[in-house]
């Protein structure tokens, strides 16, 4: 993939994450902070489908943005064809693993499986 496309995704995910995390923070402010951390309230978030989908979107946006940022930092630290391939595929694998694990949590909590 061309670097300009990757960077467009990088900037896009940053903007998307800022917007959705702002919504998330506003939702937390609808009740007392300590109440929002109560077990029942947290589980209720996952049972509310639009909110669960938003959390999934935040997870994807932050994972893509964060791991691409880490990839860029590591590419600037050291150069070499093998190292660069390792970093590119490694960050892609880490990104996929984090999204899979986070999605599993959202899905299980949404379905009421603990």
């Amino acid at each position: 993939m061309r670097e300009s496309i990757i960077m467009k995704i990088h900037y896009g995910t940053a903007l998307g994450a800022v917007a959705l995390v702002a919504v998330h923070i506003l939702m937390r402010m609808s009740q007392k902070f300590s109440d929002s951390l109560q077990y029942q309230n947290v589980i209720a978030n996952y049972h509310f489908l639009p909110y669960a989908l938003m959390l999934e979107a935040v997870l994807i946006l932050l994972s893509v943005h964060g791991f691409n940022g880490l990839r860029v930092i590591l590419l600037e630290l050291k150069q070499g064809s093998t190292y660069e391939k390792m970093i590119n595929y490694g960050s892609l694998a880490a990104m996929a693993a984090l999204i899979a694990y986070g999605s599993r949590t959202i899905l299980m909590a949404g379905m009421g499986v603990s």
Partner: protein, 257 residues
């Protein structure tokens, strides 16, 4: 009757003192990596006038004190871009920096950062020139300028203004030396190459925009610039590579056609 007083001996000696050159300490970084010689400083006491440049001070050392100091220079008027070095920690042209402007009696000169050292103050420009060539620094067109019907490509002053400042680059390497990305990413094209890419991309006579954008759209290309702006800060010719990089990004992000 008017009387003209002869200057007193003390006044005469004062006048002589003010014309006397000051003496500064010039510290020159010495190293020879090909012989495994580590970097060390040699110190020299140099007489200077208010117009003496750093290059003149170094040449004074070569002529009178130690002829083995390695330094690259040519035009002595900030046109050739040969005498770039770190002067009191800041990349600058030695021929374009007056010692009196530095406000210090100790002047330290070192080779530029982010370049392999050949010896003492002389650095290797191979990568800079290679990156410059990679940007295809010439007008690309199918048709020739020399035809019987049209002997010139019409360009308005506004068209010229878009790239003129970038054509003032003398390839001195100061921008690359000041770039923090170049310090860690040895494959980075660098502000000099990117500014040259913009110079031709913005030229309305040129048709090689797509080729150049493809070259800079690389994992060690334009996106690795963090906009520190130090390249523009040190340029002796007033070129603004940081701006060129941002304008080039505009083409790649689709804001500019």
């Amino acid at each position: 009757m008017a009387v003209v007083a002869a200057p007193k001996p003390s006044e005469e000696s004062n006048a002589k003192t003010t014309n006397q050159p000051n003496t500064i300490t010039l510290r020159i970084a010495r190293s020879n990596p090909s012989e495994g010689q580590e970097s060390a400083f040699s110190e020299f006491q140099i007489p200077v006038q208010k117009w003496t440049t750093v290059l003149e001070a170094i040449l004074y050392v070569k002529q009178n004190l130690d002829h083995s100091v390695a330094v690259r220079y040519s035009c002595r008027q900030a046109s050739c871009g040969s005498c770039g070095m770190k002067i009191n920690g800041r990349p600058a042209l030695a021929c374009y920096t007056k010692i009196s402007e530095l406000n210090s009696n100790i002047i330290t000169v070192e080779p530029m950062n982010n370049f392999p050292i050949i010896r003492d103050l002389a650095v290797d420009f191979k990568q800079l020139i290679a990156n410059h060539k990679k940007m295809k620094p010439f007008i690309i067109r199918e048709d020739s300028e020399v035809t019987s019907e049209s002997k010139e490509f019409i360009q308005t002053p506004q068209d010229l203004e878009k790239f003129l400042q970038f054509s003032y680059c003398i390839k001195c390497g100061l921008c690359n030396s000041a770039c923090p990305t170049m310090a860690t990413d040895t494959s980075f094209i660098g502000p000099q190459g990117l500014a040259q890419a913009y110079r031709y991309v913005a030229d309305n006579r040129d048709k090689g925009k797509d080729d150049r954008l493809k070259i800079i759209d690389d994992s060690h290309g334009i996106w690795r610039c963090h906009f520190a702006g130090s390249c523009s800060h040190v340029c002796p010719k007033g070129v603004d590579p940081a701006m060129a990089i941002q304008l080039l990004r505009g083409y790649l992000l689709g804001f500019k056609k």
